[in-house]
C-alpha cells in the first residue's frame, strides 16, 4: 500500500479511550470496589540494611477490624525476580531487609485506617547492618555484602565485550578524547500510584487486577510465588495511568494482596502511597561513565571504548539487561568501526533501579553526545554537520552485530537544523573564548544539538522460548463489528487504539467498529508487555496478520457471490466490492454473514516474533531489534549568569518514526519524551540522605511543570521500514534520548560551562562560571572513576559495515 491508499493510517484520530479518560470514566485498579472487599497495607522496613531477628504480629491480629496479618512465613520460601538470572526478591522479607521500604509484613482489614493502625502494632526486631549508599561505597566495602550472589562482592553484573581493536584505532586517530560523566538516577513519577486487587474465589482460582505493564510476566511468576497452578490464575492489567517502566516487575503489594485474599476469602485491594511508589522505583540507574573516542580531522569516529558503573540499588530487577543497554545501543547511530564496552552493576541499599523510558541508554547517550560536542569544538567543526557526516549506513551491521534497517537520522538533523535556524544561531564556537569574563553578568542565549537511536522492541523475550512475542485473536460478528483480543497493555501510549486502527484499515471499517479487549491472561493471547517500545510493532504486525486472514476469507465469500476474482475486491467505507463496480459492493455486515455461512465462525489468529538476529556471542541477545528509531534535537535556552538558572525557549525535535500510524499519538509521545528529558537534565534526582530517600513526594521531588516546558516543535520523518506494521517504528522512548545532551551542549554554547553531569543545577553552572573567571577549565562533573577490575573482554570480530538483510525471515510469517 502506498500512503495515499490509507484511510485510517496517517489520520490524526483521537485515541479510542480518550473520552473515557477525559471525563473520568476509566476504571483504574484503585477504582475497583468489589463486594466484601478488604483493604491491605504493607509494613515496610525503616532500615536500609538489617537482619530480621523477630516479627511479632500478635497485637496486630487482635486489633478489631483486622482480617489477616501475614509475613514471609505465610508464603513459600522461594525468591523471585523478573529476570531468570536474578532471582533475589522476596515479597515479604524473611531474614534480611536491604533498603528502606522493603516489605516485611502485610495486613488486610476492614478499611485502610485499620490496616495502617495494625501495621504499627507489628513488632519487628532488627539488627541493623552498615548501609552502602553509593557505587564507591559498595565497591570499597566487599566485607559488607548486600547479596550473596553476583559477579563479585556487591557486584551484580560485570560484562566486557570488544569488537575489533580499539587501541589500534586510537593510535591512528587525529584526536582522542577521554571524558567522565555522571547521570543521576531518577524515577518514573507516573500519575497513577501502583494498586492491585486480588480475588481468590471459592473454586480455588485467583484473579489479580493490577496496574501492571506486563500481565504475562506477572502471570508466569505468581504460580511459583503462591505455589498454585498457573492455569488457575488470571491476571488482568487494569488501565494503567502511566508506566514508563515502573510497573514492569512483580511487586510485593500484588503478591500480598493475592495471599491475603486466599486467607480471608475476600477480595483484597492494596493501593500504594506516593511515598511507596518512590520505594518501588525500578527507575533510571545512576551511571558513572568513562568514554574514550578517537576521531579523524574530518570528524569520523575511529573507535570507541566505554566503561559504565551502574548503581543498581538493592535488587536485580532488569539490571542485567540495563547493564548491557548502557553499552550496546551506542554503535547504532554513527559509523563506529570498532567498539569496546565494559559495564558493572553494583548493589546498594537503595530502591532497586530498572527500566525507565530509554532503559539504560539515556546515560551513555548523554556521554557520547556531549563528547561529540567537545570533539567538534577541538576539530573546529559544526556539531550538526559533523553528526550528519558520520551517520551509520542503512541495511548494514554495527560493530557489535546489530542489524540496522532504515535510518532517517540525516533527514531528522536537516529538519531541526533548518527549523531552528541553527546556522544563524550557532555561528561558530564562540563561548569558550568570548563573553562572560569581561561583560557584566546577564542572560546569555545558546543552542545545542544532539542525536540518538533507540530500539523498536527487544529481539528476545526475557525467558528463552520460541513462541510468539505478541498474539492477536480477531473475531468478526454478524453485527459488522470486529473484536480484537490481545495481551498488549495500554499504559497511555495508545496500544488499544493501534489495535483498533490496524484491523479497521485492513478491513475497510471504522476504528469505532472494532472492540478491543486487552491484557487479560484468561482471554487474550500473550503479548509480552509494554516495554522496550515493542508493542505497536509486535502487536501491530500480529493484528495485521489476523486481519489479513479474516479479509481473505471474507473476500472469497464475496467473490463467489459477485462472481469476480477475490484479488479484485476492495475493502473501504464499510463495504466490500470491485472498485469500478462499487454500486454492486456489499456492506461489510453482509460480507461477514456470507463469509460466516461459508466458513463457520470467523475467528483468526495473528502471531509475531522478531527476526532471529541475535549476535552469535554471549551477550548478543541484548540489543537486537527489528528496527531502530532515530531522533535529532536542537535546544535553545538562556542561562542567567547571576543565578545559574536555565530557561528553555524552544525545543526542535525530529523523529524517524518509520510511518506515523497516527501522527497525533506520535507527537504526543515525542512531546512527553522531551518533557521527561528536560526533567532529567535540569532537576529530577532520586537522591538519598542519611540512608533515606530525601524527597519522596511530588512536592519535593522536583519534576518540571508546564511552566518549565518550552515550545516543542515536532517533526515526523517517515522512512517506511520493512520491519514495522505499515512501516512504523517506535515513538515512546527514543525522543527522550537527545534532550539532556542537547541541553548540556546549549548551556556550553551560552556560557562556556561544560556540565558533565545531570541534573544540571544552577549551583553547578555558577561553579563553572566561577572556575572560568579564575581562568580554570569551566567543567563541572565527576572527577574520578572507581578502581575496579572489569572481567577479561570477550573478543568478537567487528561486524561493522557488513550488509544486512533487507527483510529478514520472521517466525510465524505464513
Amino acid at each position: 500500500m502506498t500512503k495515499q491508499d490509507f484511510s485510517i493510517i496517517g489520520q490524526p484520530l483521537p485515541k479510542i479511550d480518550a473520552w473515557a479518560k477525559v471525563v473520568g470514566e476509566t476504571k483504574y485498579a484503585d477504582d475497583f470496589f468489589l463486594p466484601r472487599m478488604a483493604y491491605g497495607r504493607l509494613l515496610r522496613s525503616p532500615h536500609g540494611h538489617a537482619l530480621i531477628k523477630s516479627i511479632d504480629v500478635s497485637r496486630a491480629r487482635e486489633l478489631p477490624g483486622v482480617y489477616a496479618v501475614i509475613t514471609g512465613a505465610d508464603l513459600p520460601r522461594v525468591k523471585f525476580g523478573i529476570l531468570p538470572v536474578s532471582q533475589d526478591e522476596e515479597a515479604l522479607c524473611t531474614e534480611k531487609v536491604r533498603m528502606v521500604g522493603d516489605a516485611v509484613a502485610a495486613v488486610a482489614a476492614v478499611d485502610e485506617e485499620t490496616a495502617e493502625r495494625a501495621c504499627r502494632l507489628i513488632e519487628v526486631g532488627y539488627e541493623p547492618l552498615p548501609t552502602l549508599m553509593s557505587i564507591e561505597a559498595a565497591l570499597a566495602h566487599p566485607e559488607i555484602r548486600i547479596h550473596e550472589y553476583g559477579d563479585g562482592p556487591n557486584v551484580h553484573k560485570n560484562v566486557a565485550l570488544q569488537f575489533g581493536d580499539v587501541e589500534a584505532a586510537f593510535a591512528a586517530s587525529d584526536l582522542v578524547r577521554e571524558d567522565v560523566f555522571f547521570y543521576e538516577g531518577n524515577t518514573h513519577l507516573p500519575m497513577e500510584q501502583h494498586a492491585a486487587v486480588a480475588h481468590a474465589t471459592p473454586d480455588g482460582k485467583l484473579t489479580l487486577w493490577s496496574s501492571t505493564q506486563t500481565p504475562h510476566y506477572v502471570h508466569r511468576l505468581l504460580p511459583r510465588i503462591l505455589d498454585m497452578p498457573a492455569a488457575h490464575i488470571r491476571v488482568v492489567a487494569a488501565p494503567v495511568g502511566g508506566g514508563f517502566g515502573g510497573k514492569l516487575d512483580p511487586f510485593a503489594h500484588e503478591i500480598a494482596a493475592c495471599r491475603l485474599s486466599q486467607l480471608t476469602g475476600r477480595p483484597v485491594k492494596i493501593a500504594c502511597s506516593r511515598e511507596e511508589v518512590f520505594y518501588i522505583h525500578r527507575g533510571r540507574h545512576p551511571v558513572l561513565m568513562w568514554i574514550k573516542t578517537g576521531f579523524t580531522k574530518a570528524g569520523d569516529i575511529t573507535g570507541c571504548h566505554l566503561k559504565t558503573w551502574l548503581d543498581g540499588g538493592a535488587y536485580g530487577s532488569y539490571g542485567v539487561a540495563s547493564t548491557f543497554y548502557t553499552g550496546v545501543i551506542n554503535p547504532v547511530t554513527y559509523k563506529m568501526p570498532v567498539y569496546k564496552f565494559e559495564g558493572a552493576r553494583v548493589f546498594t541499599n537503595k530502591p532497586p533501579c530498572g527500566p525507565k523510558r530509554g532503559h539504560g541508554t539515556p546515560q551513555p547517550r548523554f556521554a557520547l553526545e556531549c563528547q561529540l560536542d567537545k570533539a567538534a569544538e577541538q576539530l573546529g567543526l559544526d556539531p550538526a554537520e559533523m553528526r550528519a557526516r558520520i551517520l551509520a549506513e542503512p541495511y548494514t551491521k554495527t560493530a557489535n552485530h546489530l542489524t540496522v534497517t532504515t535510518i532517517g537520522l540525516g533527514e531528522c538533523i536537516d529538519r531541526v537544523v533548518e527549523a531552528s535556524g541553527w546556522r544563524e544561531k550557532w555561528r561558530g564556537w564562540r563561548s569558550a573564548s568570548a563573553g562572560a569574563s569581561t561583560a557584566p553578568a546577564g542572560k546569555r542565549r545558546g543552542v545545542g544539538i544532539a542525536a540518538s537511536a533507540y530500539m523498536t522492541g527487544a529481539g528476545t523475550a526475557i525467558y528463552w522460548n520460541s513462541m510468539p512475542h505478541s498474539g492477536v485473536v480477531l473475531r468478526a460478528d454478524r453485527s459488522g463489528g470486529v473484536t480484537v483480543l490481545c495481551g498488549a497493555t495500554d499504559i497511555g501510549q495508545g496500544s488499544d487504539s493501534i489495535l483498533a486502527y490496524l484491523p479497521a484499515e485492513v478491513l475497510g471499517i471504522e476504528p469505532k467498529d472494532v472492540h478491543v479487549h486487552p491484557a487479560d491472561t484468561s482471554l487474550t493471547p500473550v503479548d509480552l508487555g509494554s516495554y522496550s517500545s515493542r508493542v505497536t510493532l509486535m502487536c501491530g504486525m500480529a493484528a495485521i496478520q489476523a486481519a489479513g486472514r479474516l479479509r481473505g476469507v471474507i473476500a472469497q465469500a464475496v467473490a463467489e457471490k459477485l462472481e469476480v476474482a477475490a484479488e479484485s475486491l476492495a475493502f473501504r467505507d464499510r463495504k466490500v466490492g470491485v472498485p469500478d463496480q462499487w454500486e454492486r459492493a456489499l456492506t461489510f455486515t453482509q460480507a461477514v454473514e456470507l463469509a460466516e455461512a461459508r466458513h463457520g465462525v470467523l475467528a483468526f489468529a495473528g502471531s509475531y516474533a522478531p527476526p532471529k538476529r541475535a549476535g552469535k556471542y554471549k551477550g548478543g541477545g541484548v540489543g537486537p531489534s527489528p528496527c531502530y528509531s532515530y531522533s535529532a534535537c536542537v535546544v535553545e535556552l538562556s542561562v542567567d549568569e547571576e543565578t545559574g538558572e536555565v530557561e528553555l525557549h524552544d525545543v526542535w525535535i525530529a523523529h524517524d518514526i518509520g510511518r506515523a500510524l497516527n501522527p497525533l499519538l506520535v507527537e504526543g509521545q515525542v512531546e512527553g519524551s522531551v518533557y521527561m528529558g528536560i526533567g532529567e537534565a535540569l532537576m529530577e534526582g532520586q537522591v538519598f540522605r542519611k540512608g533515606l530517600h530525601k524527597q519522596p513526594s511530588m512536592l519535593d521531588y522536583k519534576s518540571p511543570t508546564t511552566l518549565e516546558t518550552p515550545d516543542i516543535h515536532t517533526f515526523l520523518v517517515e522512512t517506511d521500514d520493512p520491519e514495522g506494521p505499515f512501516g512504523a517504528k517506535e515513538a515512546g522512548q527514543g525522543p527522550l534520548l537527545p534532550v539532556p545532551p542537547a541541553i548540556a551542549n546549549a548551556i556550553y554554547h551560552a556560557v562556556g560551562v561544560r556540565c558533565d553531569e545531570v541534573p544540571i543545577t544552577p549551583e553547578m553552572i555558577l561553579k563553572g562560571l566561577e572556575l572560568r573567571r579564575k581562568g580554570k577549565s569551566a567543567r563541572v562533573g565527576p572527577e574520578k572513576i572507581p578502581l575496579f577490575k572489569f572481567k577479561e573482554a570477550l573478543m568478537v570480530e567487528s561486524a561493522f559495515g557488513r550488509p544486512a538483510d533487507a527483510v529478514a525471515v520472521r517466525p510465524f510469517q505464513s
Partner: protein, 338 residues
Amino acid sequence: MMRLPPFTYLAPRTLHAAATALAEHGADAMPVAGGTDLFPNMKRRQFEPKVLVGLRGIRELTGIRGRGREGMTLGAGTTLSAVAAHPEIVAHYGALATAAGLVSSPQLRNMGTLGGNVCVDTRCNYYNQSHEWRKAIGFCMKKDGDICLVAPGSSRCWAVSSSDTAPVLWSLGARVRLVGASGERVVPLEALYRDDGIQYLTKQPGELVADIVLPPADGWTSAYLKLRRRGSFDFPVLGVAVALRMDGDRVGEARIVLGAVASQPRPAPDAAAALAGERLTPELITRVADLAAGPSKPLDNTDFTHPYRKKMTRVFVARALRALAGLPGGGRAAEEVA
C-alpha cells in the same frame, strides 16, 4: 494512600464563636481556613487535632476594605487569589499582590487564605515527611522527637518560615488584629513571629488572626522576589521583600525583609539604613545587597543548597532594588524561577 486522622469539625458563624470554641477545646483544637497547609500536614501526622474549628463560614473574616491612600484592611479569610487580583492592592501594595500570586498553584490560591499564609507552618525537609519516614530517620523535636536533625547540637528547631506574604507584610509595616475569646488586640505583624521553628508564632493558641491592616501607601513602592525550583507549587526557599518611600530622587525610608532563611521573616536593618537619604545608584545597590545578605543564614533543610540560597540573597536584593529604581537588570518576580 494517606488518610486524614479522625477529627470533629466545628463550623462557627462568628469570630467570637470560633475563638470561644478554640478556647474551650484548648490544645486539642486547631483552626482551619483553606486547609491547603493543614490537611496535608495532618495526613502526614504532623498535626493530630481532635477538633478542627472551620473558619470558612465566618463572613467577617473575608473582604478587602479601604483605599491605598488611607490604608486598607484585609480580612484574614480572603483568598490569596483575591488578594493577588485586587486592583487597589496591585496599584499600591504591589509586592503583596506579587507574593500572594506566587504562593503554590492557582488551585491552592483559590482555597488558601491570606491569614493562613501568614500563619503557615514552618517547613523543614526532615519534618515535612510521612510518619513512617520520620520514624525511620528518628523523629525530630518539631514532632515526636527531641533533637534537631539539621543542627544536631542545637537546642532549638530550625524549621523555615515559608510564607511568601509575611516578609512583604512586614516590609509594608502591616499590623494584625488578633481576636480571642476574651478580647482582641492589634499588634505589628513583626510581633506575631519569633525565631523558633516550633513556637514560630507569638499569638495565644486561642487567638485568631482576624484582619491584616495595611498603613497608607503614600509614596511607597514595593517589590517581592521569590526563589524556588519551579514556576508553580513550590514554597519559597528565599523571599526578598523590599519597600521604599522615595523623597524626590533619594530614598526617604526603606525596609528589606527576607523570607525562608530563618524560622521567621528576617529583616535586614543595616541594609535598609544604608539606603536612607541616598540615590539608588548601581554602586549603592551593590553595597546594600552585600549588607542585606548578612542576616541571611539558611541551613540545609530545604530545596537547593544553603550556600546557594545565601548567595542568591545578594542577587535578589540587588534585583529588587534595580526594579524599584527602574534600572536595567531588575528582576520580575515571575522570572525568578528556574
